[in-house]
């Protein structure tokens, strides 16, 4: 199956508002997940579009003309909560019955600290507000805890500080700026976002990239996953004051980034994936160097990370901390490692097996959604990524690395999906009657997962917040765009 779809805009079924709502809730009740749900402004009014991933792996999509008031489905299907808030912020449509209709990005001169907050009442209840500037070298966001003593009843996360207006900008600025902007939608996921964008452009002009290019893209994406997962395990280790792994992994992560820099000169893989293929080729000498450096970094990672699973001091802090049950995870539709740690089998590489992941297999693990699970799943994925890279680079087919990208199909749409290191990346693009991009929607996996962090903190100790936060390690700018 392909992890992208494309077609004429007219192929998107246009429904009556009530039929739309009914169909959407029907699909969601059957276990479909929302890939993207957004509004587009037309002269004749606002239209809503929804793209769903059905349990069978099929992608379903339909649209409707929006009214100024729509019934909110969030109370029944919490996975919609941010999508509805986003549509509401962009268009002014009111979703009646939404439990917390705050803006998502506070675009209109407000900041998150002026948003509305759930408040727990009681004599000994206290509220802790943190951010936007918080203790680490980290992006800004606002967190508000309702606590009784050390115990957290509720955590509300309000972001928007990082909002740069990328989605509007990519269609208004010079086309040359589009790729670098999308690469920095979440700068630690440059490869993931660039690949998704490239799939969109290739779908819109029906180009099939060479096997060589797709193997190289795969290697870069798995390097990105390796670097971030290793870094996260180090950071988790640091948060429970187990310093050997924290220090070792901090260095090994850098080494993986340096391997990415061997490919393209940039540690974050900027300008490696371009529409039509990849910008840089590799020769035998470079492959040999990448392989040998990867082997030694991997060996170091094995020795550093194995320590974690044997140390009681680590396990005692990881286990049963910040549990997100399978039931909650399914309702919120957590994606990526966070979803898999709660027991959802949600790897797009496995669902679509699109090139170069044709042989990708992963066994579902029995994990219970605690910090340990989110750490351990990363370890499993590190091992897998290493094998994938080795496999691709050792049998790299010959071929053109870049193909010409022609003009885009007119009045068309395209949706592309990529399993980035945080999970499901989804971009949607519309073209107009001249074949120019008229609409672009980016969804970073963090958009699904932030609420998972809030759930992990329910009835947890406030002192466990840094550890829980690190176990998700979500993107602020990917959410805020």
């Amino acid at each position: 199956m392909k992890d992208f779809i494309t077609g004429n805009l007219e192929e998107i079924e246009f429904l009556d508002r009530d039929v739309f709502v009914k169909r959407l809730s029907g699909e969601l009740s059957l276990g479909a997940g929302v890939l993207s749900y957004f509004s587009v402004k037309y002269k004749e009014g606002i239209k809503l579009f929804v793209f769903l991933l059905k349990k069978s792996g099929e992608i379903e999509f339909f649209s409707c003309k929006a009214d100024s008031k729509m019934p909110s489905l969030t109370p029944f299907y919490p996975q919609l909560h941010l999508f509805e808030r986003e549509i509401s912020e962009k268009t002014g449509i009111i979703f009646e019955g939404h439990p917390l209709p705050n803006p998502v990005r506070y675009e209109n001169g407000l900041t998150a600290s002026s948003g509305s907050y759930f408040k727990v009442q009681g004599n000994e209840i206290h509220e802790v507000a943190v951010g936007p500037v918080h203790a680490g070298v980290i992006e800004p966001g606002h967190f508000r805890f309702q606590c009784l003593g050390e115990n957290v009843f509720h955590l509300q996360i309000e972001l928007g500080y990082q909002h740069r207006g990328i989605e509007n900008a990519v269609i208004s600025v010079d086309k040359k700026r589009m790729l670098p902007m999308i690469e920095t939608a979440a700068g630690d996921t440059s490869i993931g976002h660039a690949w998704t964008y490239a799939k969109i452009t290739e779908a819109l002009c029906e180009v099939q990239i060479s096997k060589r290019a797709s193997f190289l893209r795969g290697a870069a994406l798995e390097l990105e996953r390796l670097a971030n997962h290793i870094g996260d395990l180090g950071a988790l280790s640091g948060d429970v004051a187990y310093l050997p792994t924290a220090n070792f992994c901090g260095r090994i992560r850098g080494e993986i980034l340096n391997i990415t820099a061997l490919l393209c000169g940039n540690r974050f893989g900027r300008n490696f994936i371009i529409p039509g293929g990849v910008e840089y080729d590799v020769d035998d000498k470079l492959i040999k160097e990448i392989m040998s450096r990867l082997d030694s970094a991997y060996e170091d990672a094995v020795s550093a990370i194995s320590l974690l699973w044997e140390r009681k001091t680590v396990l005692d802090r990881f286990e049963k901390t910040g549990i997100v049950s399978l039931e909650k995870a399914l309702k919120l539709r957590l994606v990526g490692p966070a979803g898999r740690a709660s027991g959802i089998d949600c790897d797009l590489r496995k669902i679509f097996k699109s090139e170069p992941y044709e042989d990708f297999e992963s066994e579902p693990l029995t994990l219970n959604g605690d910090v340990f699970s989110r750490a351990y799943i990363r370890w499993m994925e590190i091992k897998k990524s290493y094998k994938l890279i080795k496999n691709w680079l050792s049998r790299l087919p010959q071929g053109e690395i870049t193909l010409e990208i022609g003009p885009f199909k007119k009045n068309s749409f395209a949706l592309a999906l990529t399993e980035g290191w945080r999970g499901e990346i989804c971009h949607v693009c519309f073209t107009d009657d001249k074949g120019e991009i008229s609409f672009y929607k980016i969804k970073d996996p963090s958009f699904h997962n932030w609420q998972g962090l809030a759930m992990a903190l329910r009835n947890a100790q406030i002192s466990d917040f840094p550890l829980c936060n690190k176990s998700f390690n979500l993107s602020y700018c990917g959410h805020d765009l």
Binding site: Y161, L307, C477
Partner: protein, 251 residues
């Protein structure tokens, strides 16, 4: 405990030797550019001026300039016109003023001019509060990595601290989104005098890829930038080298 010791022996001593001059980055690394526009035909000049995704190459008073402050080192210009722009392997880039980042073909590479009062105040101890204001987490990550054993900036007395109240200055990343504009100023004001400010990465220096967008405001004029470190993101060794030049540990 024995396993930790064995792991430590296996990992080895990994801290980069100081000074860093001999460090070689990857073959494809792009550092300080060398410019030569003298043999360009009229059509090539036109191409050069339009090739940069970020419009960093422009004509001013008849002269062609490259704004290193907004440059992302993507090297698309080098690919199109290798005779005009050549990115070297020189990773040492630290600048004391915004003007120093505007390069023309006659510009000699400016080295950082040490200010004696900075050396006196912070030469042996510099505590920084990092503020990400619309940053994409790449500059942030490459600042964070300075605390790991490979770079170990702690050995030079430089450290990131949790509160502006404990800091000697702020290190800014990101193009400064509208929603972080006030928070950034407030953080700066919370740092006790005498204080410094450092801009890391193309976004912080000139807006980078995000310049001139309606939701991006740039650093307030109230904040006086003492050190500019270009890149997208700058390599960690570039950041560390610049910080050490700034406090007078490298001359």
């Amino acid at each position: 405990m024995i396993k930790e010791i064995l792991a430590r022996i296996k990992q080895g001593y990994r801290t980069l030797p100081f000074p860093f001059e001999k460090i070689k980055l990857s073959e494809r690394y792009k550092g300080y550019p060398k410019l030569d526009f003298s043999n360009l035909k009229e059509s090539e000049i036109e191409e050069l001026l339009s090739v940069c995704p970020n419009s960093c190459i422009y004509k001013d008073a008849g002269k062609i300039n490259l704004d290193l402050g907004n440059c992302t080192f993507c090297a698309i210009c080098e690919k199109k016109l290798p005779q005009a722009v050549k990115f070297s392997k020189d990773w040492s880039m630290a600048f004391s003023s915004r003007e120093d980042l505007i390069l023309s073909q006659d510009t000699k590479k400016k080295s950082y001019v040490l200010r004696e009062e900075i050396r006196k105040l912070f030469g042996r101890s510099l505590r920084l509060r990092q503020v990400s204001a619309g940053g994409c987490n790449a500059c942030e990550a490459d600042c964070n990595v300075l605390g790991t054993p490979a770079f170990d900036m702690g050995r030079f007395g430089i450290q990131f601290v949790a509160s502006p109240r404990h800091a000697d200055g702020i290190l800014i990343t990101g193009p400064v989104s509208e929603n972080m504009y006030t928070a950034l100023i407030k953080t700066y004001r919370a740092v006790p005098d005498p204080k410094i400010a450092i801009a890391v990465g193309a976004c912080a220096i000139g807006g980078g890829i995000y310049r001139n967008l309606p939701k991006v405001k740039g650093i307030s004029e109230e904040i006086n930038i003492d050190l500019y470190i270009p890149g997208c993101p700058p390599n960690p060794i570039t950041i560390l080298d610049a910080l050490l030049r700034f406090i007078g540990r490298i001359k």
